[in-house]
Symmetry: C2
Subunit: 149 residues, 2 copies
């Protein structure tokens, strides 16, 4: 098998560039990490601060501050968990949902443009492959979980 790492390196770097471009959607201009946080809060079910930090592989103290800044921007809301008062549940505000949606849309537009350079069959293949890859990564023990740092 050829150099898989190289293929991945190129792919993820380019996707990173794509991501960078995409965060000034919907009139807001937020950072790349902030967009990841919005994404994650939006996709988890009533997540706690710790759960989101964990998912993103971010130090919890750093994340605590990141959340604060998003609350200041009125994009994220922090609600005390009635079952355990140590815990805060994160959710997106209406504004936050709007921004997350705008970014999602823009990213999908960009990806759509990328995919337009492939034919229908190639597009299907690529989508299916990424799914396979995600499943394989989920099965892997070595990788793909929060790093120790």
């Amino acid at each position: 098998m050829e150099n898989v790492r190289e293929l991945f390196q190129i792919m993820t770097r380019r996707f990173g560039f794509l991501n960078k471009n995409c965060c000034s959607a919907g009139g807001f201009d937020i950072s790349l990490v902030q967009s990841h946080i919005l994404y994650e809060i939006d996709h988890q079910h009533h997540p706690s601060i710790q759960q989101v930090a964990e998912a993103l592989g971010t130090d919890i103290t750093t994340f605590s501050r990141q959340v604060q800044s998003l609350i200041k921007l009125n994009l994220v809301k922090k609600t005390p968990d009635p079952d355990d008062r140590r815990v805060y549940i994160l959710s997106l505000t209406t504004e936050g949902k709007y921004v997350a949606g705008a970014i999602e849309q823009q990213m999908n537009d960009y990806l759509g443009e990328v995919f337009s350079h492939m034919n229908e069959f190639e597009q299907e293949t690529v989508i299916r492959s990424i799914k396979l890859l995600n499943e394989a990564m989920a099965k892997s023990s070595l990788c793909c979980t929060t790093p120790p740092g």
Copy 2:
């Protein structure tokens, strides 16, 4: 077509975790960005400082300092370009090549483990798809080049 962005987000995040884990290879313990710099210097042909900074999408003043730190670690070498004395050519030292190689190997090992969760046919498909994707991204005008920031 389903939510492509979501598939990409998951994939790249996981690959990011993989990358994070992988930088303490060969006895050295370097940062993720440093590993990307080593990779890029190794894969370009006698690149100048600006060229590598450009490829990585890093501000040139930041990159100048990053190079300095890698020189201090004796992983990178800076040679004046004889044709244009404003320019410095970057290259890896013997030690730098060793570290870059160790990281490459470790990444490939990790990816090998990930791929072991797929059958031969799926593996082939995934590899081919990533190649297709990289080609499509290269063709795209919207994305995948250095962002303005």
